[in-house]
């Protein structure tokens, strides 16, 4: 029955199935997971005529090389991604934010993301994936989600069901903008840090470390001095929470984060800036800007409206 599939010639660095993620499991230790850059995830689905929360393939830095077998299908890639389509007699240079057709035997080579981390591949059909707690999102630490909770691997096959045969080409004019400052709300342990430490946090630049992944982003830079206690009683964490352990280097919690942590929370990245934050590559400089709760709420409304607008243009 499953006659439409990709053969994975090269898996890429961190290629996983994702969707909107799973809710209401923090209390047993399971985070949201889901696509890191939610806007680009939703747009990729809309560009192939799917519901915005369909499973997609997320890749980081180097994407997969996929050979397609089956009936004609369409796909779209979002993010800032370099890719080519190799057909029998020709090679096509790919463009993000538009749909392309694939025929039996074509190869899709997702070469790399440009100065960004994550890209998204959606197809005009359904990836044949299993769900856990109503989500296919892969959490490789707990081995939860599609593909036995593991990254996509070299040599495996990715099956596709229910190809949409009435597909018409789609396109969106959109450029991913970079963000100058990451806006944060003061954390619940803000007063654990010295005046100098607080000043450093909001005024100095930090560099994103190579030890960053879907769980967290480690930063390096001037040390933030703690004057109360370098531990707190372990308590809940959220996406975007910035913890400062005893070594003074901040860690930002990302979508696969641990649900509980014991380091003081100096701040929380606002919801409006999360999609942009996760796209910052190791080695990039990052600066924090303080905002109040009311501003953060307004900024999120604007960001969400903009996302809905983009989706409705497709």
């Amino acid at each position: 029955m499953n006659k439409n599939y990709f053969e994975v010639k090269r898996a890429g660095i961190n290629t996983t199935f994702q969707d909107q993620g799973r809710e209401n499991l923090y209390h047993i230790g399971i985070p949201f997971s889901g696509a890191m850059d939610n806007r680009n995830f939703q747009i990729s689905n809309k560009l192939v005529g799917n519901e915005v929360n369909f499973p997609i393939i997320e890749f980081a830095y180097q994407g997969p090389l996929l050979k397609y077998f089956g009936e004609n299908i369409n796909f779209a890639i979002t993010g800032d991604v370099k890719f080519i389509i190799r057909k029998k007699n020709t090679t096509i240079e790919g463009k993000c934010y538009q749909s392309f057709a694939l025929e039996n035997g074509d190869e899709l080579n997702i070469i790399s993301t440009n100065k960004s981390v994550y890209g998204y591949l959606a197809v005009s059909g359904e990836f044949d994936v299993n769900y856990q707690w109503s989500s296919c999102s892969v959490n490789t630490k707990a081995n939860i989600g599609a593909n036995n909770g593991k990254k996509i691997e070299d040599g495996q096959k990715i099956y596709i069901l229910n190809i949409n045969k009435n597909f018409s080409d789609k396109k969106l004019n959109y450029i991913n903008t970079k963000i100058e400052n990451i806006r944060v709300i003061q954390g619940t342990n803000f007063d654990y840090f010295s005046d100098e430490g607080k000043k450093i946090f909001f005024e100095k630049e930090f560099v994103i470390s190579k030890l960053s992944d879907r769980m967290g982003m480690r930063l390096e830079g001037p040390k933030i001095e703690n004057i109360v206690d370098t531990n707190i009683k372990s308590e809940g964490l959220l996406k975007g929470v910035i913890q400062v352990p005893a070594d003074g280097n901040p860690i930002i919690m990302l979508s696969d984060h641990g649900t509980i942590g014991g380091y003081p929370k100096i701040g929380v990245v606002i919801s409006a800036d999360y999609d942009k934050l996760v796209q910052l590559t190791p080695g990039s400089k990052i600066k924090f800007k303080k905002v109040e709760l009311a501003d953060a709420e307004t900024l999120f409304k604007l960001y969400d409206l903009e996302t809905q607008n983009l989706i409705s243009q497709i």
Binding site: H27, S234, L237, G258, I260, S271
Partner: protein
């Protein structure tokens, strides 16, 4: 009973039950958690009970801090239900390949490893919460002589099954994960099973856990 409600970022309530960490306060947190869970409030997408805090996350598209705060403040929480308790035994091997921080602990605590094991094994510990990674139990209370701080820089990888100590608590790493607890041994027992969606955790808040020391041979003969 909640001493103070503040915001943690723009999409969560941070409910503080006071500075103390003990079973009484924790049981209140767990009762609040269970009551709010039962209410099934539209827009709330996660609840994280811990020792003395309850974090309530919500979908900022549907709700905001003020609306959820009002809802929570107006809830009628009952304190009558007894918390469910299971008694669970966890085998642990302290072979040197597993007890990654035992030397560090001997120095920090100024007691020998035999003394550390004597004060740890066979004692009853209460499960305050689960999380950090899937299914990890936070168990207490350790005696004063066993209480040490976390590692200054957390490990990037703590092996699956590691049993760790920090302050008055013990835990088990259900998966390989980053972490900063002082590791004294390793258990072969499966603590988290994701294929059991209705009941994935072996140990749940309110349960009572006892650790039992096993040999390397017993560890590798364990069929799990």
């Amino acid at each position: 009973m909640i001493k103070n409600i503040s915001n943690l970022g723009d999409a969560a309530l941070y409910c503080d039950f006071g500075p103390e960490v003990n079973k009484e306060i924790n049981s209140k947190v767990i009762r609040y958690f269970k009551s709010i869970q039962k209410e099934n409030i539209d827009g709330i997408n996660n609840l994280t009970p811990s020792y003395n805090k309850l974090i309530i996350s919500f979908d900022l598209r549907k709700k905001n801090f003020q609306t959820i705060k009002k809802l929570i403040e107006n809830l009628n929480i009952t304190n009558d239900d007894e918390l469910e308790t299971n008694r669970i035994k966890i085998p642990v091997c302290c072979d040197e390949n597993f007890s990654l921080d035992i030397k560090r602990l001997e120095e920090k605590l100024q007691i020998t490893r035999d003394k550390i094991y004597e004060k740890f094994f066979g004692k009853e510990f209460f499960c305050y919460m689960t999380g950090f990674i899937a299914g990890m139990p936070f168990l207490g209370d350790l005696e004063n002589e066993l209480q040490a701080k976390r590692l200054e820089t957390p490990r990037v990888k703590v092996p699956k099954g590691s049993v760790g100590l920090t302050e008055q608590f013990a835990n088990v790493y259900t998966f390989e994960s980053p972490g900063g607890w002082n590791i004294i041994g390793n258990t072969p027992k499966v603590i988290f099973d994701s294929t059991n969606e209705n009941n994935p955790n072996l140990i749940n808040p309110g349960d009572v856990v006892t650790f039992e020391q096993i040999t390397k041979e017993q560890y590798y003969n364990n069929n799990e």
